[in-house]
Symmetry: C2
Subunit: 236 residues, 2 copies
DNA sequence: AGGCCCCGATATGGATGCAGTTTATGGCCG
DNA sequence: CGGCCATAAACTGCATCCATATCGGGGCCT
């Protein structure tokens, strides 16, 4: 297994994240290792069952074992990695299907969150989303895609927050953290982005109308449509 | 904040866990700290916003800072604790509603898992559950409750596994890990246990019949009924 | 040839040390 | 008496170190 380019990729991914994150909190070494490993696992470069030796990873990344071990603890809490006392961490079986299964779970969580959010979202949150929607309106501009993605991200995350269920919000946020990994590399065709944008607008309108049932349905439709457009989405 | 009795409680909780866990893998110090902190947080002894200083916790528990920091990383991955670079970890707001919100999420996840499981559960898994169900049948025996809880636990977890969606299974498993914390202290009244048992049987029968819709409905009914019986369940 | 055991290489868990940052304290000034 | 800043104390992130457990390969016996 080669780690060539691991570090540079890492910082790439990270800079992307920092640009989009609202709270540009500095990243600790633990975060870097965590995201780097996650990316490699989700990409399938670390197949299920592969041992993740803290010693070796630390050597490859040029950091001490301490942050690596901590990152492994986080991956273990995510259920991506299996830790056993005195044994090496291993990538859990099924890791390659991760993104597909995440999507399936989102279909359970997010429609419900949207319904809850329709009744609880604040005026300020709505206004912010509408501003983002306006900014992300399809145009001939070349860098329209990133704006659409910002809107996408903000919409889903705001809904999660506005659901009022903190655990639910956290779960959705985590799903998005994973999904995000695939975004970096994904080059969606134009019509997919456009369709997504329309669906997002429908969700936003339902929220504005404070209509839980419509919000739920619009969210479900959006997720199903996304699943259909990228049916074999394993990584990208 | 006093930590009196923290360690002893810790080992108590843990011994309970080990008895019920199938894989009696030894617990590392990280696990102990993690479970201990989680218990205190869920019980409300660590209110939202309280700083969790690794140095201090390590001192109180008589361990070094290393396992404490790792436990905090896991709690952060769970979303229970918020970590910021160079700042002390803090208990996230809403931590006291954790168990209620977990339950709400289970109502989203487990019915779906049950439906999936109805079509995928193996004969062996069914047989094992039926054996547990028989063992846990209500009787005059004093220690019937633990058997019922074993059955409860096994049923839900087996369904999660049999759903075939690994992420979903992991999420459910984690919910149960949290719920379990409340079990230790909970003394359910007899009729609640009995009702639960009947509901569990209904779910099992639907699985046996390979009937996804019935399984989903039975699971949802079970969860709603549990929520109704302990509406103000915050800790117990 | 194939299984078994033993031992060196290598890994892990945890403690400790240190540099840098944050937080609390206390004196000073308005 | 209350706000403000300097300074001391406390805390964090990370590296390093040590004891112990696991892994892996070669020799030995069957």
């Amino acid at each position: 297994m080669d780690f060539i380019g691991f570090k540079s990729e890492l910082t790439l991914v990270f800079s992307v994240m920092l640009v989009n994150e609202k709270s540009a909190a500095e990243a600790s070494r633990v975060d870097e290792v965590y995201h780097g490993l996650l990316l490699r696992i989700v990409r399938g470069e670390m197949p299920a069952g592969m041992p993740l030796k803290s010693t070796q990873i630390a050597r490859e990344l040029g950091v001490s074992r301490t942050p690596v071990v901590q990152a492994l603890q986080r991956l273990a809490a995510d259920g991506i990695v299996h830790l056993e006392l005195n044994k090496r961490a291993v990538v859990r079986p099924g890791a390659e299907k991760w993104l597909v299964e995440i999507h399936e779970m989102r279909e359970l969580l997010e429609p419900h969150a949207a319904a809850l959010a329709a009744e609880r979202i604040s005026e300020g949150q709505l206004a912010r989303l509408e501003a983002l929607a306006a900014a992300a309106a399809p145009s001939e501009s070349l860098d329209w895609a990133p704006l659409a993605q910002d809107f996408d991200f903000a919409l889903h995350l705001t809904i999660a927050d506005a659901s009022g269920n903190f655990v639910l919000a956290e779960a959705i946020r985590k799903c998005w953290g994973f999904k995000r990994l695939s975004y970096a590399a994904a080059d969606e065709p134009h019509e997919v982005l456009d369709k997504g944008y329309q669906e997002h607008l429908a969700i936003l309108q339902a929220l504005r109308a404070r209509d839980p049932l419509t919000a739920r349905a619009a969210m479900l439709l959006h997720l199903r449509s996304a699943a259909r457009l990228r049916p074999a989405e394993t990584i990208v």
